[in-house]
Every structure is written in C-alpha cells, then in structure tokens.
C-alpha cells in the first residue's frame, strides 16, 4: 500500500507525490513509485542545481557535444574527438570503499565507451579525512585498492589526479572519477531510441538485487549507522566490463545499431526512459526476458537494480543477429527484451501483465525544478579574520613539516598501485603538473588535470571556483598544453540548507567567470549534493577536470629541473597572502583567513606567456606554485629532477618571510631555462606584460632560499626528499 511512510521512504515529498498522481491521472503502483523516486531523485534529475548550472558557458567552436549526454565531446582535429566526463561516487565509497570506488570507475568508463570512444585516460580526485584516524586510513586503503582493482584489470591507465586531506571529509570521503576516450568524429553514438519497431537489446551482465536505491541513497544525508546500507552498494566486475567494452566497440564499428545507453544509476529505468525521452518515442519491455542472476525478483527490484556492466541497445531491425553474434564471441548475453514504440510511454510487462505504464515525459521532463533558498553562511565573517600568529623560529623545520603534510607530500604510494602505463601512451608518469598522454601517430598529446582546493572555496566560494579553473589551466600550461574543454564535479552539502545553496551559487559563478575569460567550454559534469554526515557538511568542493592539447610533442615540459646551472625564473608576483594556506592549516592549525585573490586577466597572461616561451624552446622545466607555496614548489622541482638537483633562490620581496616561502598567491609559475635564453625570456615577459624575475640557479645538493640578505632555508635535498616521500608510506607501513 502506498501511504505517507512509503512515500517518505522513497525520498519523495508529499507535494511531489501529488504531482505524480496529477501527471499520470491515477495513483502509481509500487513499481511506478520506485521509478519516479529514482528519476526524480536529486542524483538523476538535478532538480536543485539545474537553474544554477545554466550560468556555465557551454558554447565553443570545437564543441561537438555539450552537457546533457553521457559525456561531453570536443573536436581535437585529425578527424578525432575527445570524449570525457567526471563523476562522483562519494556515498558508496564511504559505505564500502573498495566496491564504491571500483564501480565509480566502471560507471564513468561506460559513459565514455557508450559514445563510441575507446577510453585512454582515468584520473581520480580523492578527498579523505586525516590519516591519524584509523577509519580514514582504511577508507583510503579501500578506495585506492578499488580504483586499482578495476582500472588495472580493464586496462585503462590511471594517470594521476589529486589527493587532499581535511577533517571535513572524515565521515564523507570524496571519490571523483574522470575518464577520457578517443572516438572518430563521424562515429559517435548517442542514447537514441528511434524508429518504432526497432528491437531493444539488453547486453552484458545479468541483473541481480544489488544497488537497489543507489541513486536515492546518493540523494540524502547520512547518519552514523551505515552497515544496513552496504547492500545498496553495487559490486563491480572489471573483467565483465572489459568484455562489454570490446564487444560494444566491435558492434559500433559496423552499421548495426541506432542508439546505446549504459545502465548506471537507476539501471533499466534510467536507460529506457532517457533513450525514449531523447527521441520522443516510447519503449516497451518484458521483464521475463531480462537475464537474471537470482530467482524470484519482483518487477520493482528489476527496474531499480543497479547491477553493473549492463547496457541497453536499440538495434537496427534487420541487424539483430549480427549484434548477437558479436556479443556471443565475447561470451556475453544480448537479448531482445522489447521494442521502440510510438506514443511516448514506458510499458513494462511481467508475468504476462503490464506492471508499468507511464508517460516518459512525466518521468523525465516534468520533474519539479527547485530554486532553493540561499543565504550567506554565518561562519564567513569570523573565518575571514586571521588571528595574529608569529613567524616560525626554525624555517628549515617548518619546511620539512609542510613537505611531509599528506596534502603536499609525494603520492607515489597511491600511484604505483595504479597501472599508469598500459596502452603505451603515457609520456609523464604521475607527479607532473598534468598527465600527458600522446596520441599515437599524430605528434600531438592530450594533457589532463583535476583541481579543486576546498579550503579556498570554504572561505570564499566564488574565489575558490575561479582558482580551481585557473590552477587547472596553469597546470596544463606548465606541461605545454592549452586548455580545450572542462568537466566539473560539484561536491556540496545538502541543497536544502540555504547556506549550502549560497556556496553552490557563488562557486558556480566563480567557475563560470573563469571559464569565460579562459574561453573554455564546460561540456558537462556531475553534481553531488548531500555530502553531509550527522548534519555536518563537507567544505564546498568543486573539482575541475580540464583537458588540454599539446600541439607538438616536442613542447612537452616537466616540473623537474633539467641540468645544473640553469637559471630560475619566477613568473608572476609574490604577495603577502597566507589565508587558507596549507601552512596556516598545518602549522598554525587554523582554517581561516582570506584565500589568495586572483586577477583572471593577469592569470591568462601568465599562462599564455608560459606556453609561448615553451613553444619557442626557451623553457627547460616548469612547475606551478600551489599548496605549500614557493618553497614547496622548488622542493618538488628538485625532487622530481634526475639526480635530485639542488637549487638556490634569492628573493628581494619585502614581506613576512613565512608569506614569501609558504604563501599561496596565484598566477605564479617557476620555470628554468638555459643561461643563454635569459635575455630572450625576460624580454618576452616584458612585451607580454608579465612579471618575470631571475631568482637564482639550479645545482648543488641543497635547497637554499634567502630573502634579501637573510638566509631563510638551507636544507639538504636528501632530507627534503625523505620528508616528502616517506610521509604517506610511513603511515601505511605494516608494523
């Protein structure tokens, strides 16, 4: 019986239920209610975010597909297209870290190959609570193993990403997974269900009871007791997905199908209704024909199951056998379970009876859209005031402490668990500013980076949004790539809280502004609300995934110093900005202050200058300054060089020494070049209106930084390396 309790259990408000009754002209049965609860969930419908997402720029001359499809598509020339997207799998990864993260990888990969692209890049943005707590350690261990278990097996390189640690993720880790594939521009597939009478095929793994209510689960706050939610998490089978990937690409290479859609969140429900909705048609399926893993499943369970590694295909009427032959070659089921119909309805049969008969439009298009109330949070005022604090007495020690802070430190412990070289395209091992993947036979490469500093966004959401875009683009410039497209994953607390909505709106405004100035289109992404546990929300965490193009592989530049005696040039300006820095957080234990400010026009000039200098062959190495400031940036350049080359930098700025060493002012890049290029570089900078300062030289075996006549830092490279490299492995060492 459908009563108030049942409606509430389906995460629908009484008003939403009334609207459903009005739209379909009767009370829904339980299966139909389940369908609405999934498709009208925040996760599937974007009902609270839709209005705000419209502010993001989505146009661009190379955009083949913007938001609204499984993934965004950008024309990259040579008849090729890059198909990419980022998605969150936060809630499942908290409840069951291994499977949550693994199925996150599986889900995003299906989004890519559904469109006819072979995936070539995986990246992850991970956020965990401090590793001093055993629970966070076990979550991180599980998440990393899950990503590694799935990505390695299916044979797509996981080439980096980023990892941050903050208390706010203790009971709400974030797992954002990015994937990119390459397709031939004229062989892209969409989620279409055209042509009444065309058969609907179910392909891939069998349906079980796993993952029921996954999307609904992702649309509510969590409490402490989560054990009972574990069955809601799907279980991944990368081997099955590998077969599915190969079979789908083989089918797509021939002219056999009309449309294809993966069964991700909301499974059969989502794939049937979305395909029909996009083509203005209907779909009729018979659940008795669906391959099933367990006996006695109800229509409700089958329609809501989120079993992994399944796809729905609308085939051309006379080509079904060929499709089935290819799937049989890969030992996969491909079963006709229904057909496309006219009239825009979803009809589902079970045991000879019609158990669902709904207008597709009501499920997809007529879902309510909310403009939730928004209000600036009260913490902002007190957070902006940085209490007074004194400069450290021993800068060497402070520097080593910062290098060993898990957010700054070397993430090799994570990365070497990922196969980052399969497919033989990886130019840069993870650790560079951006991952660089060459395009075979084209003398070009793609670069990808994920970025998002949530502390900045917490303190000033709009600035945080701008910086996330700017820093990602700066990372691309450092490796020699120009940005060509953006995907974003917006991780926030509950949209029903006005303060969260305010953070969300502000952050989007910042992202939109930056994308407009850098002239890069947003081609889609994902919103993850309800990142709250026990009423506490995470810091607002927009993660930007930006794809860049290296137009000539000779330009590919790395962060590590190249040779002794190269000159060190600082592009951009040091400012006395300490708010929101890793230094303030780690050393002075405050999450406060005004985050670094950013002038987007200046940022653009800095990036363009860096790219131009690289393309002129003037740059030996380039690295952007971010968490940990100039000092940590120089340490990384040194530790990523062959032979662990030291550096000596002399600065003339007149400001607090801690701000000079560890401040995180934006729009700064450290490059090195040959002595003979000094004049040309400095002249070019002047012409381009960019500040560039010769600050020292590479060489020796120490990291030395002085301010005017005072030596601030003098540390052995080996000691810095130990602090930086050992921090995370030491935490996980089996004692």
């Amino acid at each position: 019986m459908i009563d108030k309790k049942v409606i509430a259990e389906h995460n629908l408000t009484p008003e939403e239920y009334e609207k459903i009754v009005e739209l379909i002209g009767r009370e829904p049965n339980i299966t139909e209610l389940g369908i609405f609860s999934l498709m009208w969930s925040e996760h599937c419908s974007y009902k609270s975010s839709k209005i705000h997402l419209k502010k993001l720029p989505v146009e661009g001359k190379n955009v083949i597909q913007g938001p609204g499809e499984n993934a965004g598509i950008i024309d990259i020339g040579n008849g090729l297209a890059a198909v990419f997207k980022i998605e969150s799998h936060n809630h499942p990864s908290f409840i069951e870290p291994y499977q949550g993260a693994a199925t996150g990888v599986g889900g995003i990969l299906r989004d890519i190959f559904t469109m006819g692209a072979r995936p070539i890049i995986l990246q992850d943005a991970l956020r965990f609570g401090p590793l001093s707590k055993p629970k966070n350690k076990s979550i991180m261990e599980g998440v990393v193993s899950g990503i590694s278990g799935y990505g390695n097996s299916i044979g797509i390189p996981t080439v980096g990403g980023d990892v941050y640690f903050n208390d706010c993720y203790s009971l709400n880790p974030l797992v954002n997974v990015f994937a990119l594939g390459i397709a031939e521009k004229d062989k892209i597939f969409y989620a279409k269900a055209e042509g009444a009478g065309n058969p609907v095929l179910y392909v891939g793994a069998k349906t079980g009871r796993d993952g029921i209510h996954g999307a609904t689960m992702a649309s509510a706050e969590f409490g402490e007791n989560l054990e009972h939610k574990r069955p809601n998490v799907q279980v991944g089978d990368p081997f099955m997905e590998k077969l599915l990937l190969e079979a789908c690409l083989e089918v797509m290479a021939k002219d056999l199908i009309v449309g294809i859609q993966d069964m991700g969140a909301a499974g059969l429900t989502c794939s049937t209704t979305e395909m029909a909705s996009k083509s203005g048609t209907g779909i009729e399926i018979d659940l008795d024909l669906v391959p099933q893993r367990e006996k006695g499943m109800t229509p409700y369970e089958m329609m809501l199951s989120e079993s992994q590694e399944r796809m729905l295909i609308v085939a051309k009427k006379d080509r079904v056998e060929e499709v089935q032959r290819i799937f049989a070659k890969w030992d996969l089921d491909a079963v006709v379970i229904g057909q496309v119909i006219e009239g825009g309805r979803l009809r589902v049969k079970f045991g000879g009876k019609t158990v669902v008969d709904l207008p597709v439009r009501a499920i997809i298009d007529l879902c309510p859209v909310y403009e939730q109330e928004s209000k600036a949070p009260s913490y902002l005022e007190s957070a902006a005031n940085l209490d007074s604090f004194s400069e450290p007495e021993d800068y060497n020690q402070t520097f080593l402490t910062l290098l060993s802070s898990p957010t700054v430190s070397e993430k090799e412990w994570v990365r070497r668990q990922y196969d980052h070289m399969v497919q033989v395209n990886t130019v840069f091992l993870p650790g560079a500013d951006a991952a660089v993947i060459r395009i075979k036979g084209k003398n070009k490469a793609l670069a990808v980076t994920l970025d998002g500093n949530s502390l900045y966004t917490y303190l000033e959401p709009k600035t945080g949004g701008k910086i996330a875009v700017a820093e990602a683009c700066r990372n691309l410039a450092c490796v020699g790539a120009r940005p060509i497209g953006v995907t974003n994953c917006l991780n926030f607390g509950s949209p029903e809280k006005p303060e969260i909505m305010w953070q969300f709106k502000e952050a989007i405004e910042g992202i939109a502004l930056a994308c407009e100035i850098f002239d890069i289109p947003v081609t889609g992404g994902n919103v993850s609300f309800y990142n709250d546990t026990n009423g506490i929300s995470i810091h607002p965490t927009p993660v930007l995934g930006i794809v860049g193009m290296v137009d000539d592989t000779r330009w590919i530049t790395g962060p590590g110093f190249k040779s002794e005696g190269d000159i060190l040039i600082l592009i951009g300006e040091n400012k006395e900005e300490l708010g929101g820095s890793e230094y303030i957080k780690r050393i002075h234990r405050m999450e406060k202050g005004i985050p670094p400010q950013i002038d987007l026009e200046e940022e653009k000039r800095v990036q363009e200058f860096c790219l131009e200098a690289i393309s002129l062959g003037l740059v030996e190495s380039a690295h952007d300054i971010s968490e940990g400031g100039l000092a940590c940036c120089l340490a990384e350049c040194s530790l990523l060089s062959h032979g662990k080359m030291g550096v000596s930098a002399h600065l003339k700025d007149n400001m607090r020494s801690d701000a000079l060493l560890f401040g995180e002012s934006q729009s700064r890049i450290v490059i090195t070049s040959k002595e003979e290029s000094r004049k040309e570089i400095l002249n070019l900078a002047r012409e381009r209106g960019v500040q560039a300062t010769d600050i020292g030289k590479t060489g020796g075996d120490r990291i030395i930084i002085s301010q005017r006549d005072k030596k601030l830092l003098d540390v052995d490279v080996a000691d810095a390396g130990k602090a930086w490299r050992d921090a995370i492995p030491e935490i996980f060492r089996i004692k």
Partner: protein
C-alpha cells in the same frame, strides 16, 4: 606471418604489443584469437599482459585451458619461439611450459613502476643482442609477480642457466630493496630448458620509445627479430 599476439578475454596489452611490433619495429604481426585453433603460420607467439579471465581463480590459470593453448603447447614443443609478458608469463607457468608459480608481491600491493633488470643470460633468442650483465630499465605492472619454485626446481633452473633477467639496482647489484616483488633468486625473466620459451614480468613493449621514457625494452624485440632472421 612472423608474430602472433594471442588475445584472451581480459588481455589488455594485446593492442600495445601489436602496435610496437607493427609500428615501431615494422614487423608482420597479427592477433590470434583464443577460441580458435589457427596459429596463422606464425614464427613467434607472444602471450601479452593483462588480466586474462579477470585473474579469477589464479592469474593465468583459466587462460591455460583456452582452445588455442593446445596448439601453442605443441608449437613450443616443436621448438617455436614463445614469449610470455606479465600475464603471459603467468599463463606459461600454468601451462607447464615454464617451471614454478607466482605469489602475490611481497608488499601485497599492485606495483606499477620502473625497475632495473640485469641480463644474466644472453645466449637466448630473446636477449642475444644484449651484453651479459647489462642493466635494462623497463617497467613492471603486476600484483602476482613474486616468483617461487621448490628448491630442487630452482637448483635445476640455475644449473641450466635458465634465469635470464634478474631484478637489480641501476648498477646491476642484487638486493632485497631492488627485488621489489620478492621473487626467488630475484627472477624477473625465465627461459625453458630447450631455450625457446621465455616468460618475463616486466613489459618491454612499454619501453620501446624514447618519448615514453625508456627504450631498453627494444633489446628483447630486436633480439627476437634477429633470431627469426
């Protein structure tokens, strides 16, 4: 046809290996499908890396029962050249063409990283262009690469000079630290007694182009090409 690269369900270095053979070394090469019985008249068979059958049950164990493996076994017994890379090495162990087995890496984690390998036997078709003691820098990527075999087997292996590649440091010295996965005798590459079947955990196809960071893997392919004439 010179080279055949076998595809098992779950192979994922099949395309990489074919690409390197065809595009880098300009060799005749084709895929061989695991369900068939056709070796397409090739002179050398490569079992590529990956996760055949998802590594379920045990790495390489199910692939060893693929229809094509019967032919591969006969081909090897007739003296044909067979190279197993990573998962391919594991399949060769399961087929019994090479002695021993693989345990999980000693740190119980998947390891993807560059390692140094010392070439201890150059009297093979797979290493004939290397110098004895030469150190190669080639990446590994595996979970189960910790080689093991019983004492009497390892005695036999050593006596017959079957250890071709050993994990070492950059200067060719053996140590626990350099032996990243914990393999017995630091074994990274092993050949059969007859000298025509080799298995190696490192991926030479990933170290065949300067752009990708190392060209040391070329030695394996160049030796093979030379041996095939």
């Amino acid at each position: 046809m010179k080279f055949g690269v076998v595809i098992f369900p779950g192979s994922n270095c099949d395309h990489d290996t074919l690409y390197v053979l065809k595009d880098i070394f300009k060799q005749d090469a084709a895929f061989l499908w695991h369900k068939e019985h056709d070796l397409k008249n090739v002179d050398c068979i490569i079992l590529p890396g990956g996760f055949s059958y998802g590594d379920y049950l045990r790495s390489g164990s199910i692939a060893a029962f693929s229809p094509l493996m019967q032919e591969v076994k006969e081909f090897a017994l007739r003296g044909g050249f067979v190279l197993g890379i990573c998962n391919g090495f594991q399949v060769l162990l399961e087929l019994g063409l090479l002695p021993g087995a693989m345990l999980r890496n000693k740190n119980l984690k998947f390891l993807c990283q560059y390692v140094h390998l010392r070439v201890d036997n150059t009297d093979t078709p797979f290493t004939s262009t290397a110098k004895r003691g030469q150190v190669l820098r080639i990446p590994i990527a595996h979970y189960d690469g910790n080689y093991y075999s019983p004492p009497e087997t390892i005695q036999e292996v050593k006596k017959n000079n079957q250890i071709v590649l050993r994990y070492s440091d950059a200067r060719g010295r053996l140590s626990d630290e350099a032996n990243v996965n914990g393999s017995l005798e630091c074994i990274a590459g092993l050949i059969n007694k007859a000298g025509n079947v080799m298995g190696m955990m490192p991926h030479p196809e990933r170290a065949s182009e300067a752009l990708l960071g190392s060209e040391d893997g070329r030695i394996i392919f160049e030796s093979l090409i030379k041996s095939l004439g």
